[in-house]
């Protein structure tokens, strides 16, 4: 393991040197930093480690059963992975790339989100209609908040004061006050809401509805749906369009929405709410994550067992990288 790490670091250093020298040759264009993507593979109970410099899977870590939600700590040292069928959240140390412990998540954890300070974890317990808050330092559950049936999506507001949780069966977005640790508002959205994402200025929360085929734009102060985004791909049945993962660029201008079995990521003008483009990625595209520099957006494609790398500036899919079986979630290292 140690030898492998040293070897990998050696390769990384060499490739950085190579990049630096080619950047010089190109007249000082800045070299891209090497990021690592960690992808949960729902079917084969693993996490794929993908080197985004080499654009290939470099290691596979065995984890608990049915890994789905995954987040990385702000310092990049730890990954937290929901192992739903084992009823735990596992902690993976990124340096050793090994599972080093677990957290008492409550039953069937599916998706999770970190607090802005990085010390709390909010997670949805799909079978128990609960959101559990975990103190990462103490590794213990602080509170459990009852929400709608089959909770899933978790979105933390930029100021950290509100967490939005979606419930698949109740079809609601629940606004949870993080200080009071209780639901303060419920907003009805379309069928089977999967994911909640805040704009970086906190002005809007977008909630995707997998069966409804829409994204609801919610005013987080008035708790109203202000508009609904619909999608249409010529030649494709509307049932095949199932919005799931959402990501905004930092400037709040573009949103990317993963459309499940439509195999496409929609590029949406986040100001006008108009769909501008559809990018064909892989089969059953599920979750999305940016590299920290937002040069690339990564999509997990469940059926084609790969991830797609989207060039954000040019809105083009530039690469597919094979990972494990049924890739679901993705987290990217901060450096």
């Amino acid at each position: 393991m140690q030898a492998e790490l040293i070897r990998r670091r050696g390769i990384r250093r060499r490739s950085l040197l190579l990049l630096a020298s080619s950047a010089l040759a190109l007249g000082g264009a800045s070299p891209s930093l090497a990021y690592t993507a960690y992808v949960t593979n729902e079917r084969d109970n693993t996490v794929s480690v993908v080197d985004l410099d080499k654009m290939q899977t470099v290691k596979t870590i065995s984890v608990g059963q049915r890994p789905r939600g995954i987040v990385i700590s702000p310092d990049g040292k730890f990954l937290y992975v929901c192992a739903g069928d084992d009823d735990i959240v596992q902690i993976i140390e990124t340096k050793s790339q090994e599972v080093v412990g677990d957290l008492p998540s409550g039953p069937d954890p599916e998706l999770l989100a970190l607090s802005k300070t990085g010390d709390l974890l909010y997670l949805s317990n799909e079978n128990d209609a609960l959101v559990t808050i975990i103190d990462l330092k103490e590794r213990k559950a602080l509170a459990q908040i009852p929400v709608g049936v089959e909770p899933e999506g978790m979105g933390v507001s930029p100021d950290g004061k509100v967490v939005v949780n979606t419930s698949e069966t109740t079809n609601m977005a629940h606004f949870i006050d993080t200080d009071k640790r209780e639901v303060v508002a419920n907003v009805l959205v379309d069928s089977r809401p999967r994911y909640a994402e805040w704009k970086s200025d906190g002005s809007e929360v977008w909630v995707s509805a997998e069966v409804g085929g829409t994204v609801s734009v919610i005013d987080p102060v008035k708790h109203d749906v202000t508009s609904k985004i619909t999608f249409s791909v010529p030649g494709l049945r509307s049932e095949a369009i199932q919005p799931v993962g959402i990501r905004f660029t930092k400037d709040g201008k573009i949103a990317f929405v993963a459309l499940g079995p439509a195999n496409r990521v929609a590029v949406v003008n986040a100001q006008t709410h108009e769909v501008e483009k559809y990018l064909l990625v892989g089969q059953r595209v599920w979750q999305l994550a940016f590299t920290p520099d937002q040069k690339y957006l990564i999509s997990t494609n469940g059926v084609s067992n790969d991830i797609s790398v989207i060039d954000v500036a040019n809105l083009k899919v530039i690469k597919s990288i094979q990972v494990g079986s049924f890739p679901w979630g993705v987290a990217i290292s901060p450096e």
Binding site: V233, P234, G235, L236, R237, A240, P261, A262, N263, R264, Y278, L280, G282, Q283, V303, S304, N305, S320
Partner: protein, 214 residues
Amino acid sequence: MEKRAEDSTPRAAANFVLAAGLALASLTLPAAAATRRDPDWPCQQIKVPTISAAAIWSGPSLEGLGSWNTDQEVADLVEQLAARRTSLDEAQKLIDKFTDKAGAEKRARLVLVFAGVFEQLNKQRDEVLSGLARVAHRQASSADQIRAENHDFLELRGKTDNDPNKLKELGDKLDWDTRIFEDRSRSITYACEVPVLIEQRLFAIARMVEAKLD
């Protein structure tokens, strides 16, 4: 041997429990099937009757292209790409080679290649779907048969003057039929993956061909 014969009744009784479970499953599943399930579809996966080209292809439309069979090089490539024995690595090489030599009509010919592979793999997939439908019906009638055998076994066992040889015979038959039923169920689980494997292959080839269009 005698020892085994003695064991046959408890074994059959255990099988009864199992068969009762199966029978129950076959009773409840079709009930649910009336609203949700397709009797031709024994798989857990969502049934996708045909793959739509739009789901896997964002290149030019495949409508009104004419036949891909008339261009011999296209037809040969389609045949090789559609064959599952051709690995995806080989497929990539074949597409690279074809593209290099495709000439001025490169783009149009590549679209024809994809149209051909799309047609052929959808055909393969249709055959697998029909096969799965046949197996689904056969399993449904096996479940009925096991349920009837189970009833007979239970009835005989309930009689105080039952013939132990006959009871053993019924128990063994139930045992055997249950085993076949379970073996088939396992094969169905594998067979259910085949349509997905074909979709994966079709998508992978679509991606390779589309990348060559620019």
